[in-house]
Amino acid sequence: MSAEQTRKLIVLAAIWATLVLAPYWMVPLGGYTALATRVLVLGLAAMSVNFLLGFTGVLSFGHAAYFGLGAYGAGLTLKFLAPSTPLALVAGMLLGGVCGAILGTLIVRRRGVYFAMVTIAFGQVFYYIAFQWSSLTGGDDGLRGFSRQPIDFGLFKLDILSDANNFYFFVLFCFALVVAAMGFILRSPFGRTMIAIRENERRSRFLGIPVERHIWIAFTLSCFFMGFAGALYALVNNFADPRGLHYSQSGDFVMMAVMGGMRSFWGPLLGAAVFVVLQDYLSSITVNWMSFVGLLFVLVVLFFPRGLLGFIQRSKA
């Protein structure tokens, strides 16, 4: 038991050390800091999808909607309300989370394929709203004309706009907060009821768990996390894209989660890293980069059904 705990602590320390030092080891390896920032943000989104998929056993194929809502929430706040980065993040998270909470009440009664279809349908509604409402959202061109603002600590200001390393550490700090919240919830009695529902819905019901209500809470939480990731993504790009709401984006998040390993907490981050780095590298060589990512996905699913991290964990044990 304690040997197991020590091993877990070492792995955790290694993960955080890798993330904290990323700007210093990525550059010599031919990467750049902004790429690491993208990995963190998309990794957070994939982990949010996986909060539902891997730990409640419910597949949402429309989670990009809440990601995109987070991005528009942050962008619109910076553009029209106030030049405050923290306010933009909170606004984005609330927009994604509240919309998720409302639609979730309609979605959680469905299961399996029907659940996935309904989440796609609601997701597409937001996509078309963002696409059509040009006066507010910029339509097809996306929302422009805002940028992330320095963080004001009173005594000094942290420049996160022009200093890539500063911005990376700011995003890492936000990432750590949300990931800590996720880990905390999953280790709680409520988190165990999520896993119970994933493992056996009928048994959960017959233990006295109101299954629909618990799925709704998990869905809503994951939409809040997703909205937060989306808000960060708007800050990364200083831009909100209607395609960030599209179901193909939802598919990318599911792909990252499954490729990385949906039964492991950190798997989706690894999946996102592989996805983002491959995309960055291959898209400079060929416009058909997605077919290579897709090929890798198929290989992983065929040969490592528990994902890349699941495979690594299994071969160590």
């Binding site: 919830i185 709680s188 009695p189 409520f190 009928r202 019901r205 017959f206 109101p210 299954v211 809470i217």
Partner: protein
């Protein structure tokens, strides 16, 4: 005092009447066996009691309270626990985790995002006591999905017991078991009934088990309540012999 009162319950599926105008009363501390040929409506009857689906007509009272319209999880919260003919467990979790989830839900912690140290210790004690009761205390860290069939049934019963139920519904507890496992599970049910005073309703095909355990027996046939009485009365009942025991022997 009666734990369970079922009044004139009927369940229709389209044209099929699976349970027809059945009444049954179970007293506190009683062990009631429900027997009947295949397709007699025993499991449907169980599903009506546990709220898997509502009856077409009739009423069900539990601990003096009308539960006819309550959902499954609400009945569980009131103190009704059930096992299934095909074991329903959390296969990829350990024995301990399976029972802990039940204990936490029963303790009212299911919505808590945290649990303090003393509550945690209390839950752990309850889980360990329950596992000892079903003789699984040496297998706490094993994955339930990897246990032998008999141990999986015991784990499912442990989950039900961790809910501290007033009524325990067991759907064919010895289904698919060999003689040794059947003996062990029968002894366990006997202990729960005699020593811990659980009120138990069980469906069972194995007549040795039924006559060994039951205080009273209810016989269902083609959705109707054919007879009810002590094991001696049922064994002597000619209608039952003709409809059921005669065929089985």
């Amino acid at each position: 005092m009666n734990v369970l009162e079922i009044q004139n319950v009927t369940k229709r599926f389209g044209n099929l009447v699976a349970v027809r105008d059945v009444s049954m009363t179970v007293a506190k501390g009683e062990l009631r066996a429900i027997i009947g040929p295949n397709g007699a409506g025993k499991t449907t009857f169980f599903n009506l009691i546990s709220g898997f689906f509502p009856p077409t007509s009739g009423a069900i009272t539990f601990d003096g309270r009308d539960i006819t319209k309550l959902a499954t999880h609400q009945r569980v919260t009131l103190g009704m626990a059930r096992t299934f003919q095909i074991t329903e467990i959390f296969p990829e979790l350990t024995v301990f985790e399976n029972v802990r989830i039940a204990a936490e839900v029963a303790g009212g912690y299911r919505l808590r995002p945290w649990i303090n140290a003393s509550a945690k210790a209390q839950i752990h004690r309850r889980v360990e006591e329950t596992l000892k009761l079903v003789s699984l205390e040496t297998k706490t860290d094993r994955l339930v999905g990897e246990l032998a069939h008999g141990d999986q049934r015991a784990a499912e019963i442990a989950m039900a017991l961790a809910l501290r139920p007033h009524l325990l519904l067991l759907d064919e507890p010895t289904a698919g078991m060999g003689d040794q496992e059947t003996y062990q599970i029968t002894q366990l049910i006997r202990r729960l009934h005699r020593d811990s005073n659980y009120t138990i309703v069980l469906i069972e095909h194995d007549m040795r088990v039924v006559f060994h355990l039951a205080d009273r027996i209810s016989v269902l046939d083609q959705g109707r309540m054919l007879a009810e009485g002590t094991p001696q009365e049922i064994a002597a009942n000619e209608t039952v012999q003709a409809a059921y025991l005669g065929n089985a022997a």
